[in-house]
Amino acid sequence: MSADWPILSVVIWLPIIGGLLVLGSGDRAPNVTRWLALLVSILTFVLSIPLYTGFDASTAQMQFVENLPWIPAFDINYHLGVDGISMPLVLLTTFVTILVIIAGWEVIQYKPSQYMAAFLIMEGVMVGVFAALDAMLFYVFWEAMLIPMFIIIGIWGGPRRVYATIKFFLYTFLGSVFMLVALIYMYFKSGSMEILAFHDLKLNLTEQLLIFIAFLLAFAVKVPMWPVHTWLPDAHVEAPTGGSVILAAIMLKIGGYGFLRFSLPITPDASQTLDWLVIGMSLIAVVYIGFVALVQQDMKKLIAYSSIAHMGFVTLGFFIVFRIVANPEVDSGAVLGVQGGMVQMVSHGFISAAMFLCVGVLYDRLHSRQIADYGGVVNVMPWFAFFMVFFAMANAGLPGTSGFVGEFMVILASFRADFWFAVLAATTLILGAAYTLWMVKRVVFGEVRSEGVAALSDINAREAVVLASLALAVLALGLWPAPLIEVMDASIGNLVQHIGVSKL
């Protein structure tokens, strides 16, 4: 179904135009700037809700479609639409952006108008990535994301921000330009830039393999997968809290989304041929990066590595499908893997955002991210400790929280494919609990370790609102994931069916 008004365009352009207004308002009256930014982000979120309420979950068709010619000479269109895969991610984006705006309320004193504007523009561009159905439109949004993020890390980041942000930019740029060449190649094969036309495009195995590798470069860097993950810890550590939240909660998801929208359906045979590669990289991310996280001294770095491990689950879930389809003794479970990956993406969006915000709360007070500088925080910040422990549990995959649902589904699907995959994947339950809870133990519990900690004040109402809304989301998704799963069921079923058919 579709609405009477161009809802996706509004959700894309409202924050961008609002962001430009915020930018224009300057820094003479920072409070006006902040309220304007908050207003724009809330309005965008409210306007994006009809995407969910008006969504028809019974079909895998694209909905809320808009299609206008953009560059007729190349048959490039302004073609937007969402299905069950992209719609939840759009909502995640609009929701998290509000929290980011609130989280930067007092902390950002240097050029707040540029800070808020960067996040609003970022929001519109990210929604554009999820909603684009034209490959070139997708690519434009995909690359345009880099500019605000580059600025955000570079201006408001930590001491090594310049190194981190240039590394971030070049890494992702490197990954994506080869995708561009692949897209142009497919344009000449199919005569159109429609992503859905690419899905039905016949390609031989050599072409598929090359295109798959081009996509893998782009998406693996974004996710990020081992071994191209090294930009992420740097970027996360140096980014301001808001930047880390957006990076972890949404930008990483764009990599996962890319696998579902491009790699799997466009090059199913190459994905099948190279599934060992991706599954291997995912399992290394889960196990090895889990160990790496264990030894981190810096809280943000620890959460960054934990993100990589959790995203390993996402890619594992997506590619395990090929092993399940290939195994004739198993009749179902393929859908489960992809669904698990999707649930994990949304859930990780909430949990990682919350974890980074928790670290942000501490950092704003003590200006340190080192675990060793804290200890006994619970004695002075009981409310904060409550939230932090809750999110840590969710991060470790405690049943009842959203973190459990996705991991459980992926592990279950892995069992159908190969017993050993499941065993390796399940180590995350131990490792995840180990690194997260050990950090919480050292930071939150115990005696008050220093005068700095003793002087900490508990979270204020603004911080409480942010953390509480995330806690609610984590809990709701953990206790009752059915609404999310139902929404994407038809689309994922269609996708799995599509990739089961060889293109050769």
């Binding site: 000479a73 690359e143 570079g154 070049l170 330009v177």
Partner: protein, 479 residues
């Protein structure tokens, strides 16, 4: 032969510009220091008038004049309008800079007008002779412009180098032309093309001549390995001249390549496409890599120009209308972008201070967020990051290259774009992430600020709506 005055209509814009330039030259003699801005105003009006005339005589058909020596076709119209518009930007940036540096003289505008006239003649050239005349008019005006600050040693050295190497390049070009003329027996491109196409001409002589023609073109574009003059001349010339030199003549060089290679030697495309491939790959590689090592912004942009020339050549390599229109789009966009990039240097300069180093950009976001924002768009456009227009310029060229099954060439091009992104990012980093080392207020004149704003916003607008400009470029080759 009988001449009817109305038959001169297609050449009216050139005649008008010639008259206007002579008028400005005369008027300038009688201007006192108090009224010297009149020269500037007259020059701007001359350019606007010429644009109007070009638009008036424009049309989809092809007209020839003077026995085929002069051609007015849609490509020529597009090229001329682009040239003249870039010229307006150059003059607007240049005035404030020259005043600030104390070298304001009417000759700047007069020489620029004559250079533009030369470029227009190149754009409309129908024979080797017209082309060469236009080229020399451009070259001689520009040599003088480079030495415009006559007390500057750097400027004199640059002009000398430019003159010697430029003369050498012209010599190469002439030698190549003489071969083609000798083999085909005509100076008119249409007849040359016909002779070559008939297959009765000795191909060895043709290809031998073609090599020299391509070398001449490569010199004028500044493509590797004929690029040595570019950084020195860009560096040595006053910024106002560099920005003129770095923008509009690229469009003229495009016209040179188009008229010689496509109109004249179109059926030899298999030969020249291979030569251009070598030049393009080398330019992309050397331009992007060496730019990283530059600390002088003018030199950095010079090497960046070299790499962009590689991209323009890629469009020619496709050797079809799609490729030419992509190359035309790229050239026009690049000229506009380059004018903005150098324009910022002109804006940042003031009395006793000539901004030309990368670190002069430091902390620009604190000094002027607006200027920094515009420069951000210009730099990302040069790097080819969407949603700026530079991305689409690269995209169209890459599409043309892939369409002739040269995917590897597209791969090479994007690989070097990544390397290129680094030094543009470094400039952005200086503007946004570093503290200013110079807190002096920016004393830019209103006209240069306006030009810069239009320039920066154009990067975004053409990026969001590239279809219009591209349609113009495509229609130019549709006929």
């Amino acid at each position: 032969m009988q001449y009817d005055l109305t038959s001169l209509q297609p050449v009216l814009p050139e005649l008008f510009l010639l008259g206007a330039a002579c008028l400005v030259l005369l008027v300038d003699l009688f201007l006192s220091p108090r009224t010297r801005m009149v020269g500037y105003g007259l020059s701007l009006m001359a350019l606007l008038g010429t644009i109007a005339l070009v638009a008036w005589v424009a049309g989809p058909e092809r007209e020839t004049l003077f026995a085929g020596s002069f051609v007015r076709d849609p490509v020529a119209d597009v090229l001329k309008i682009a040239l003249l518009s870039i010229g307006i930007f150059a003059l607007a940036y240049g005035r404030g800079y020259l005043l600030g540096q104390g070298i304001y003289r009417g000759e700047y505008f007069i020489l620029a007008l004559f250079a533009l006239l030369g470029m227009m003649i190149m754009a409309s050239a129908g024979s080797f002779l017209t082309l060469y005349l236009g080229l020399e008019l451009l070259a001689l005006s520009v040599y003088a412009l480079v030495a415009f600050d006559r007390d500057s040693l750097k400027g004199a050295e640059a002009a000398m180098k430019y003159f010697v190497l430029g003369a050498l390049a012209s010599g190469m070009l002439l030698y190549g032309i003489s071969m083609l003329y000798g083999a085909t027996g005509s100076l008119i491109f249409a007849e040359v093309a016909e002779a070559i196409g008939s297959g009765e001409v000795d191909e060895t002589v043709l290809v031998f001549g073609l090599v020299f023609v391509v070398i001449g073109i490569a010199f004028k574009f500044g493509a590797v390995p004929f690029h040595m003059w570019v950084p020195d001349v860009y560096h040595g010339a006053p910024t106002a001249v560099t920005l003129f030199l770095g923008s509009a003549p690229k469009i003229a060089a495009f016209a040179l390549a188009l008229r010689l290679l496509v109109d004249g030697a179109g059926s030899l495309s298999a030969h020249w496409a291979d030569m251009l491939t070598i030049l393009a790959v080398l330019s992309l590689a050397i331009g992007n890599v060496v730019a990283i090592a530059q600390s002088n912004l003018k030199r950095m942009l010079a090497y960046s120009t070299i790499s962009h020339v590689g991209f323009i050549f890629l469009g020619f390599i496709a050797a079809n209308d799609k490729g030419y229109s992509a190359a035309l789009f790229y050239t026009v966009v690049y000229a506009l972008t380059a004018a903005g990039g150098f324009g910022l240097l002109a804006i940042l300069s003031r009395r006793g201070f000539d901004a030309e180093n990368l670190h002069d950009l430091k902390g620009l976001n604190e000094r002027s967020p607006w200027l920094a924002g515009m420069m951000l768009l210009i730099l990302f456009s040069m790097a080819g990051v969407p949603p700026t227009v530079g991305f689409f310029a690269k995209l169209f060229v890459l599409e043309a290259v892939v369409s002739v099954d040269k995917v590897w060439l597209a791969g090479v091009a994007v690989f070097f774009s990544i390397i290129g992104a680094f030094y543009y990012l470094r400039a952005v980093k200086m503007m946004y992430f570093d503290k200013p080392i110079d807190d002096a207020a920016i004393e830019a004149s209103l006209d240069s600020r306006m030009a810069f704003s239009v320039n920066g916003v154009a990067m975004l607008l053409f990026g969001l709506f590239p279809a219009g400009l591209f349609e113009v470029c495509r229609a130019a080759f549709a006929g």
